[in-house]
């Protein structure tokens, strides 16, 4: 894609999300969502193969439906409250519609079916934008309407998302699908805590974005999209294999890495609200996630795959791929746990 066009499209994507986050009028929020969606379609279609076309079409259909559903909820809210300002939504029907629409945009279960297929059909860079930047806008709206969300609905969606994210990823060897199921599970964790303490949702979103960005960048360094190609990394970039090890363990939520912080805080908030079984169930289901991350680290860092003799002495070319800001990203994705007491500034 020619650079000027790419810049305009990227700027539109960012502007769309910014409009969603910064406006207080429901119509502008809808406009922002549509801008975002229309601008990201060319990004998803960077390669002209049928798989990418199918992925972009599926993405367009789900997001457009969700936006329309959101508009419906907004109109019902207009009918019952008489104004367009984003505030507490008094009508339960409007609130349920908006929640459903936003969870459809996020890829929470039971609207998660598009996430693995769309993520698989696009390039790694587009996948990175899809799974990180695109989550910010719906999450910000959920944050703003959090006092009026129906807890039962969202908690049910969250629980099923964690289960789907865990079980769905178990049979995958394609890295993009693994990251898609990981995204579903993490969105589930975030959705569980919105109605109780939205700040923890923002914390989880931030750490999830950092970790996912790091992971995708490490995958892009090697242009690897399958577990098999990732297992050849010990030859070319041995240090990156250790990074993948730590990052995968952090995504799985193992202490003392930063991936544990959101899980710890979310379980703390849920137990403060007298829910004991749900966080236990979510925590144990997150172990399924850990299993397939661990399988990735086994094939990448901890064992050496059977390889031909040609592989063992690869010619070391100079690094030409750009990995923007990779070291700070990796450090923040793995070593932030000692800074957890700083969360008290959020009170």
């Amino acid at each position: 894609m020619k650079p000027p066009i790419l810049i305009i499209i990227m700027a539109t994507i960012m502007t769309g999300t910014m409009i969603v986050m910064l406006s207080s009028h429901w119509l502008l929020i809808w406009i922002g969502f549509e801008m975002n969606m229309l601008a990201i379609i060319p990004i998803l279609m960077k390669k002209y193969n049928p798989r990418a076309m199918e992925a972009s079409t599926k993405y367009f259909l789900t997001q457009a439906t969700a936006s329309m559903l959101l508009m419906m909820g907004v109109t019902i809210n207009l009918l019952y409250s008489g104004q367009w300002v984003v505030s507490k939504i008094s009508n339960p029907i409007a609130s349920i519609m908006m929640t459903t629409a936003l969870t459809m945009k996020l890829g929470l279960s039971p609207f998660h079916f598009w996430v693995p297929e769309v993520t698989q059909g696009i390039t790694l860079m587009s996948g990175m934008i899809l799974l990180t930047w695109q989550k910010i806008a719906p999450m910000s709206i959920l944050y703003q309407i959090s006092p009026s969300i129906n807890t039962n609905l969202l908690m049910l969606m969250a629980l099923t998302s964690v289960l789907v994210g865990g079980w769905g990823g178990l049979n995958q060897t394609q890295l993009r699908k693994i990251m898609a199921y990981s995204s579903i599970a993490h969105m589930g964790w975030m959705a569980a805590i919105i109605t109780y303490n939205p700040t923890m949702m923002v914390l989880n979103l931030t750490l999830y974005i950092l970790m996912t960005l790091s992971t995708f960048m490490l995958f892009m360094l090697n242009s690897s999209t399958t577990t098999l190609s990732l297992s050849h990394m010990w030859n070319k970039f041995p240090l990156i294999t250790s990074m993948i090890l730590i990052l995968m363990l952090s995504l799985g939520g193992l202490p003392p890495l930063s991936g544990f912080i959101p899980k710890w805080m979310i379980i703390q908030e849920l137990t403060k609200n007298n829910m004991i079984i749900i966080p236990t169930l979510m925590a144990i289901t997150a172990l399924l996630n850990l299993y397939f991350y661990l399988r990735l680290t086994y094939s990448t860092a901890l064992t050496m795959f059977p390889s031909t003799n040609n592989m063992k002495m690869k010619w070391q070319f100079e690094y030409t791929k750009k990995a923007t800001l990779l070291p700070p990203l990796i450090i923040t994705s793995t070593m932030l746990l000692p800074l957890t007491p700083m969360l008290s500034v959020l009170d």
Partner: protein
């Protein structure tokens, strides 16, 4: 406590920046110096705990375990020198860094004063251990072993996290020192039963309890020598230490809830001891012997009498040193014949007499010969379980007999009798190996002169 933690952290730059022929020497020496510092904590004045800071403290329960942990690092490094000699330099340094990182987490775990801090570090010890087992183990089963190890422990400890956060909410703080004064009795109700289970299962898996012990033979057998040493000597004791700490919160429900676990432990120790008699794999035998000894510790902690706590603490330290020594001996065999099968290397006494002396002493301490601290531990546990219920003396007696049987079986199979033909050209014992055995045995024998140090806070 920082005077131990910061030097341990600094051991990592020491490894990476030493000259290639000095990495082992430097780390071992400074590791021994750090263990000297930890000995200061053994001097506990009058029943009080030594509070170093807001986050760390040490009392007469954690100080011996701390000393054991810091003593073990140089021993692990000495034991690993041979099997890593053929690896490239970076991998050697990585291995040593993993060991040091594990050491660091263990030191912080044993001296943590807040329960959530303890939990985070308890889980953190899993990661270096996993990496050591899966990356440097020798057989293909090590992948499965690492998985079993990680997932058994995590399944047990996630409910512990929820339970700790619930207790934090309920009581206001989880600091050990404060919580002793705020405890309220825990009555018997369904939700309290689940709370008790959530708190204890993590440590039961770690100990391990007989029904949940499946990870242990796999992990111990597949791990390289340093991994086996640290698993057997210290990581199992984390379970015992955690149980001792958390049972202060769980009275009097423990009297009711302890029965199933007591039965599993009492039956399990006999079962695992009996399995030892039928093992062909030397490391597997020592692993099952660990399960059997730890079952005694579980019985002791669940009975909750002063005598049993003394026995449990003494048994933990004694078993740590003995088990680690047995693994080192098994490893010295493995390095020579590259197989763990016992009968392949028989009659070693004629070929390596000094090593046979260490084998003899290790087997004798394993079967709890007087006046070693192993005996003191086992005797206190047997006495207190007898006072808890008279019938347990039968089971305990059977266990002690079978322990003696398999220890002597191991000794006789490897050392006595005619040697097998093909081991005539094994290398003689290295001085490093003899030093390793001495360093294991000397604390064990000297402690029998003054067991007061390891008898724990109740003494």
């Amino acid at each position: 406590m920082l005077k131990i933690i910061i030097p341990t952290i600094m051991l990592i730059p020491l490894t990476w920046m030493s000259k290639p022929n000095m990495i082992w020497i430097n780390t071992t020496t400074y590791g021994l110096l750090i263990s000297l510092i930890s000995l200061f904590y053994l001097n506990q004045p009058n029943d009080n705990t030594l509070n170093s800071s807001l986050m760390f403290f040490s009392d007469s329960l954690s100080a011996p375990l701390l000393a054991l942990t810091t003593w073990l690092l140089p021993l692990m490094l000495m034991a690993s020198q041979h099997h890593l000699s053929k690896e490239p330099l970076t991998r050697k340094k990585l291995y040593i860094s993993m060991l040091i990182l594990l050491q660091l987490f263990l030191i912080m775990t044993f001296t943590a004063s807040e329960l959530i801090f303890f939990y985070i570090l308890f889980e953190a010890t899993l990661i270096p251990t996993l990496i050591i087992i899966t990356r440097w183990g020798n057989q293909t089963e090590r992948l499965n072993a690492g998985l079993y190890f990680l997932f058994y422990t995590l399944m047990g400890s996630l409910p512990l996290l929820v339970a700790l956060l619930y207790i934090h909410n309920f009581m206001g703080s989880l600091n050990f020192l404060m919580i002793q004064y705020w405890i309220q009795p825990l009555p018997n109700s369904w939700s309290n039963i689940f709370l008790w289970l959530a708190c204890m299962m993590a440590f039961m898996v770690k100990m391990p309890l007989y029904g949940l012990h499946l990870w242990l033979p796999k992990a111990h057998v597949e791990a390289p020598i340093a991994g086996s040493m640290v698993l057997a000597a210290v990581l199992l004791k984390l379970g015992g230490y955690g149980m001792m700490r958390i049972t202060t919160l769980l009275n009097p429900l423990t009297n009711f809830m302890a029965y199933p676990f007591m039965m599993l432990s009492l039956w399990g120790m006999i079962m695992t001891s009996s399995i030892c008699l039928r093992q062909t794999d030397l490391k597997s035998l020592i692993a099952y012997s660990s399960v059997s000894h730890m079952a005694l510790v579980i019985v002791a902690v669940l009975i909750q009498t002063p005598c049993s706590y003394m026995g449990a603490t003494a048994l933990m330290i004694a078993h740590g040193l003995t088990s680690s020594m047995l693994f080192c001996l098994a490893n010295s065999n493995y390095e020579r014949i590259h197989s763990r099968t016992m009968i392949l290397a028989r009659g070693l006494q004629t070929l390596l007499p000094l090593m046979a002396a260490w084998w003899l002493l290790a087997s004798l301490t394993n079967l709890a010969l007087p006046p070693t601290i192993n005996l003191i531990g086992e005797l206190f546990v047997v006495m207190s379980s007898f006072s808890w219920s008279n019938i347990t003396i039968i089971l305990m007696g059977i266990n002690i007999t079978i322990t003696a049987l398999y220890s002597l079986y191991m000794l006789i199979t490897t050392q006595r009798g005619k040697y097998s033909h093909h081991i005539k050209n094994i290398k003689p014992s290295f001085t490093r190996e003899n030093a390793l055995m001495t360093l294991h045995l000397l604390p064990l024998l000297l402690l029998s002169l003054n067991p007061k140090i390891i008898l724990g806070p109740i003494y």
